[in-house]
Subunit: 194 residues, 2 copies
DNA sequence: CTGTTACTAGTACCAAGTGCTAATCCGGAA
DNA sequence: TTCCGGATTAGCACTTGGTACTAGTAACAG
């Protein structure tokens, strides 16, 4: 016996996890067993065939693409918005957002949430950030739910420049504040209520 | 003739673009033609069969997973670095980084490049951004290569606070500037050469 | 009436399997 | 030693979703 059956099946699982493209024949060669043995192993472990594996991987891709397309527009989920006035978005910080070493969210994710919210709240197709002044008040850990509140400062806004203030909190504690100076491409309308 | 051939082939392409999972049989039904006609259409248009389509989609996934993992650590490629002094990184702006409507790079990508470079240049395992003051000087279009230069401002740094200035350019033209106040978790060492 | 184009139909074949039956091998217990 | 059982291997029929190729039909154009 080259490798005990149980061990082989464990390895088989791992192998396919990180490379789902292997055929039974290739696997058989890799473990120096017959193709039939590999089939039995897959059967016992409930591992689907190559074509099914590719299908699920491909499905995941399509899903992620949709997700990333959406998130390309706004980082976080907008849960409330009044154009030209205020908006709120929500971002769940996952392991993907943090430094591995200390579990603290990387600054640019908080910035991205705030900045894209500032863009979204502007009632303009072509709003751009000109400058911004930001403060990372308190580190944010993985697992936190960050709520960003954006408010348009009408009084400080002039012509094509608009000031948006964003405050992000976790459990009502401020973790981030930012003042964004936005540039709107189309001239300010007096009142845009249709 | 249900739908003129050319039109059908165009639709076929679009359809498969956004749903590569359709079999010839399903497509034949959808267009009310025979399976053979679909095959001919695919042949003429150079559209591969279902299994090949899934394979490429799945491959893309695997690739993107690697990419997004890498980009978690540093946004852009660091091409030069002297710890505690200066660093340079390079970011190629693709369609993924820009607003669809005007092709201008979203601010948070430039910020992310600059911020992660500021973190990287700090000779500290646990550096965090405390605040920053940034300026988007000039819009960046897709296809641009952004070079970010970070410089540690020794003279303005005190204790655990360090100032890092980042200037990003495209073709020697400044597009972004930022001043990052960083917090280092371990106390400043006098000289760390070695 | 003859082409040409578009479409349809049918066959042989392939890859990568499933499902099933039937050997064969090998180690340990009676 | 012999027999049993789990592990392994082999072989065959069948399935999907195709390719490659041949052949036939329908419609319309010149």
């Amino acid at each position: 016996m080259r490798v005990p059956k149980k061990e082989r099946q464990r390895l088989l699982g791992e192998l396919l996890e990180q490379n789902p493209f292997l055929t039974d024949e290739e696997l058989a060669e890799h473990f120096s067993v017959s193709v039939q043995t590999i089939r039995l192993d897959r059967l016992e472990c409930g591992i689907p065939e190559l074509r099914e594996r590719l299908k699920t991987v491909a499905t995941r891709t399509m899903y992620e693409e949709v997700k990333s397309l959406q998130s390309d527009e706004v980082i976080g989920d907008i849960i409330d918005i009044e154009l030209d006035q205020r908006a709120i978005s929500l971002l769940d910080v996952t392991e993907d957002h943090v430094f591995q070493r200390n579990g603290i969210a990387r600054g640019h994710h908080l910035f991205a949430q705030a900045n894209s919210l500032a863009v979204a709240v502007m009632n303009d197709d072509l709003a751009l950030t000109v400058k911004s002044n930001i403060h990372f008040v308190k580190p944010v850990k993985a697992g936190s739910r960050v709520i960003a509140r954006a408010e348009v400062k009408e009084e400080q806004s002039t012509g094509k420049r608009t000031i948006v203030e964003v405050v992000s909190t976790v459990n009502d504690e401020t973790v981030f504040t930012g003042e964004f100076t936005m540039y709107r491409m189309t001239e300010r309308k007096q009142e845009d209520s249709k």
